[in-house]
Structure formats: C-alpha cells, structure tokens
C-alpha cells in the first residue's frame, strides 16, 4: 500500500509556481530523501502532505485527504519541521504531559527512556536548552509516538556535526522498522546518503529524479579519466563532467561498467555529486528547450 500518493500535485503562490504538477508514490517501509536547492518546492510538498497548506491535484496520505483531515491524520503521522518549533516557554515535563494528554499513540515511558540518555532535565524550559538539545527533545517525543509516517524537513539545520550524526543514528537504530516510512527533506545531502532507500530530486517545482538507491547504484557510474582518454570517454555521452586534481571525472547514466572500466576505476557517485550532475543536466536541457522554442 502506498503511504503517500500524489497525482498532479500543484501549488502556486501568486505568480510563483511552487509545485508544478508532481506525481509521487511512497511505499510503506521506505526512507525517502527529498533533495533540492532552496526554493525548489520541498517544504511546499511536505506542507501539502501534512495538511498545512491547500493544494490542487490529488493527494492521499495514509488514505486520507490531509487538508481536510489533518487532525485525524496526525494520529499516524509525525513531523519535525525544523529545530525551532517547540514553544520556548514550555517545560520538558509539560511538553511530555501535553503530548501524552492529546496523542493516543504516545508512549511516555519510551520518551523518558530516550531523554534519560541525554542531559536534558525534566524541569528545564525549552528556552534554556541548546539548539541541539531541543532537537534531541523533539526527536525523543517523535520516536515515542507509534506513527506510520514520519516527515522531517531540514531536521538538523543549524546543528553541529555530532548532533547531526546522532540524530540519524538514533532514528535508524531506535525507531525505524519496515512498517514505518520516513520522508526527509534536506540539502545536507551527504549525511543521509547511507540512510536512504529512495531518492528524489526536486527543482523548480518538478521532480527531476525519482529512483531507489539500488537503482542509483545500478544506473549511475563515475570514472576518473586521464586527459589522453578524454575524447573517447566523452563519446559515451556522460551527463556531467567535473575536474579534480588535474583529471576529469565523468558521470554516466546507464553506460555499461565494462566499457567504462577501460578508462579507470568505476565507482558509484555520491548523492551530492549526482545531485549537481542532474541539476546541471536539467538546466542544460531547459536552456536547450528554451533556445529551441525561441529560434
């Protein structure tokens, strides 16, 4: 069963088109990384999924209409939108009381267990906690909710590297199982590479890449090519080319590994490199289309 299913999802703010009719399907048990530059439409897409913004087109989340059934949906969906949304005046014990009071799937004992591993004290107010501790607190609450879908929008923004690493480690070891689904939007791409099962690139309101991590590994290859072999390598139509230490690194989509091996070591590109390649490629294609239309 699809946890999220969207067809022709569209959202415009005045003349600005934030989502330009995207189709999306996220199956149960996946961890999807939604990656795109600032203003690409990531947050708008997540807000539509969470029932925080109205939209055009079809969208079902856990078989509900998020815009009209937000409160029921939130029994099965959790989200951390960014680090600064826990009210600053609330005490740690109060936020636990409140969530336990209104959320049928919140396990307070579990949340206390997660908090016991941190230095957060029950009587502290959120305003006195560091940014990293606030995120730990929010994560402890979210992980203690037995939800089916967890949505994270730049959850580790502004945190130092230790907290960022801990964040994803706890998510994987203490929370994720095959019945849960996680959608993460971020532009700190490298940190979530090892976490994801699926990858989606979004740019200017459109999905430019949508595939599983296995697919990424089987489709995309990167080779460092010596200058004398460059012409031959270019003939295989790399989608992107960059320079490193005086040599060219070429990125190929669906080109046979044995063919590439003649130029050097073949490896799977990092998500960050793939992202840059796909974005440049898209920009080039958009430019070509634009020029074609105006010739």
């Amino acid at each position: 069963m699809a946890v999220i299913e969207a067809r022709g999802l569209r959202k415009a703010f005045g003349a600005t088109i934030a989502l330009d009719g995207i189709d999306l399907r996220v199956e149960e048990g996946r961890i999807l990384g939604l990656i795109g530059p600032n203003g690409a439409g990531k947050t708008t897409a997540l807000n539509a999924i969470l029932g925080l913004t109205p939209f055009q087109g079809e969208l079902r989340v856990l078989e509900r209409d998020p815009w009209n059934e937000r409160d029921q949906l939130m029994r099965d969906v959790c989200f951390i939108s960014d680090v600064a949304v826990l009210p600053r005046w609330i005490r740690v014990s109060q936020v636990l009381d409140y969530v336990a009071g209104v959320h049928p799937r919140f396990d307070r004992v579990k949340a206390e267990g997660f908090l016991a591993k941190t230095s957060i004290r029950r009587e502290s107010k959120v305003r006195t906690l560091s940014k990293g501790m606030v995120t730990q607190l929010h994560l402890a609450i979210v992980m203690a909710i037995d939800a089916r879908l967890l949505v994270l929008d730049e959850p580790t923004l502004g945190l130092d590297i230790l907290y960022r690493k801990q964040f994803y480690d706890s998510l994987l070891s203490d929370y994720f199982d095959r019945k849960r689904t996680i959608v993460v939007a971020t532009h700190q791409v490298d940190e979530i590479q090892h976490v994801l099962t699926d990858l989606m690139f979004i740019d200017r309101g459109r999905i430019v890449l949508d595939c599983s991590m296995e697919e990424v590994e089987s489709r995309y290859r990167e080779v460092m090519v010596n200058p004398d072999q460059l012409a031959a390598a270019r003939a295989l139509k790399p989608i992107h080319e960059r320079q490193a230490m005086g040599r060219s690194i070429l990125l190929f989509d669906r080109v046979d590994r044995r063919q590439l091996a003649t130029f050097g070591d073949v490896r799977t590109p990092s998500i960050a490199d793939l992202f840059v390649a796909v974005m440049d490629h898209e920009a080039g294609r958009a430019l070509a289309q634009y020029e074609g239309a105006h010739r």
């Binding site: 005046w89 609330i90 109060q94 009071g101 959320h103 939800a147 801990q166 480690d169 994987l172 019945k179």
Partner: protein
Amino acid sequence: MNTETNVVSEPFDSQGLAPAAISPARRVYWSVRRELWENRYLYLVPLGVAALLLVAFLFGQMALPHHRMRTVLALEPAKQRAEIEMPYQMVEGLILGAAFFTGLFYCLEALYGERRDRSILFWKSLPVSDLTAVLAKASIPLGLLFFSFVITIVTQLSMLLLSTLVVWGSGLSTAQLWTQVPLLQWWLELGYHLLTVHALWYAPIYGWLLLISAWARRMPLLWAVLPPVAIGFVEKMAFNTSHFANWLWYRVNGPDPFHFSGSDSLSATAGGISMTGMTPLDLGKFFSTPGLWTGLVLAAAFLYAAARLRRYRGPI
C-alpha cells in the same frame, strides 16, 4: 541519545497495537491546561490585584484612628453604609476590571503569538483540530470571569474578617458592620452581572479579538480597533449618519442600563439607593433582547472563522 547501533529491544507492531482513544473532552482539557502554562499572567494578574488591595485595606484599617471609627459608626445609616461599602465595591471593580482587560489582551494574543513564535507547527503536528484549539482558547476569558468572581468573594470575605477583628478589638459592636455589608446579596448581583454582561453580551467582542488574532500578520491590536473606528468616521463623513457607531456603542454599552444595574453598583448605592437585585423580570427582559442573540450568533461566526483561518495560517 546514544550513538551505538543497538538493536531495539522490543519489536514495534504499529498495526497490532490498538491505542486507547482520547476523548474530545480530554483534548480540550489539555489544550486549556497548556494555555494556563503559557499565560500565567491570566491568574497572576487578578491574584496580584487582590493581594495588593487586601494589603492596602489592612493598612487602612490599622491606621484608622479610633475616633474616626466612632465617627463612622455614629453617622446616619445611609452615609454610614456608603462609607463602609466603598472599599468593598472598589475591590470588586478593580479585580473585575483587571480580569476583563487581561481577558481581552489574551484573546488578541492567543492565535497570533503561536504563529509568531512558530510553535503553531508543533501544535499542528498533534492530533488536535483547529476548532478544538480555538474553543479551548475561547473558554479562557470565560474561565477568567469565574476565577475573578471567586477571587472577589475571597477578598471581600477576608476584608470583612479584618474589619470585624479591628472593630471587635476596639470594643465596638460588630453587628452594625455586618448589617451594612450584605455580602451574599452583592455576590448574587455580581454573578448575575458577570453572566449577563461579561459572558453573554460581550461574547462577540472576545470572538472578534480571537478572529483578528488568527488573521493579522502583524499588529493585531491595531487591526482590532482601527477598522471599526474608521468605518464609523467614514460613515459620518460620507452620509453624516452614525448608525455603525451607534451599533458599536450598543454592543459595548448594552441595550438598556436597566439590565446592567449590577454593573455599577457603586454609583447605584453611593446615593443610598439599594442595588437592583436579580429579579426574574430582569432575566426575562435580558434574554428576550434580540441584540443578545444576534451577538451570540456573531460570536459563534467569529470563532468558526478563526478556526478556519488557523488552518490556512502558518508561522509569520
């Protein structure tokens, strides 16, 4: 948080667990409690005012020269009564006034503050509907009325007790004092006044403030006050009429002073006239005033609109 990759000790089964249902009443209860955590001034202001007045009263009683007490007790009944009543009426007026303005201030801030500090995203991540949140917030000024009622009763009782001790200590008769302070009657009238004026007649005012609080992107106070004033002026300039201003005045001032006799008991009693009590005629007349019902319908419409708006609104 631990960084080790330890395996989860018990496997979750999200489908197998049937979570205990949470009743709407429980969600409202926790939503109200959360308002009280955030806005402690709601009870601290009336309590503070009451404490201050009590201290002032105690000081006045202690400092009262003995002969002055005798003069008061020797006055003719009407004047004596006015003299003794005065501090009690002041306490009532000040506590209620403080609570009233606190309630107005709260309404204006309630749906605006959560957007300004971005916490609305946290509240919306929980299974509480916008209507529940708005109704919980709307119940706060009503609760505040009841709270200030109780505070007034306790304060006036303490004052009477203090006066009794002072009078008794100076060897005078306490009977006179007690007959001049008909607390029970005052409380009945106060309750009537709070219910009819502050709770029912003013309901659309609270609703309006909550609506503006949900709507404004900045300066909710200005948005709440300026447009009605502007409409009044524009009407006056354009048509030389004041229908809107009159209507607004009616909403603030009430249909007929007669119904609100409890409200200014101070002036009503100052001249020696006993306060108009709660009679069935009053209630019947009050509840058959069309303005009351249009006001309540308006209040409901404002609250509904505020709940709808909250759905659209994000952090500002």
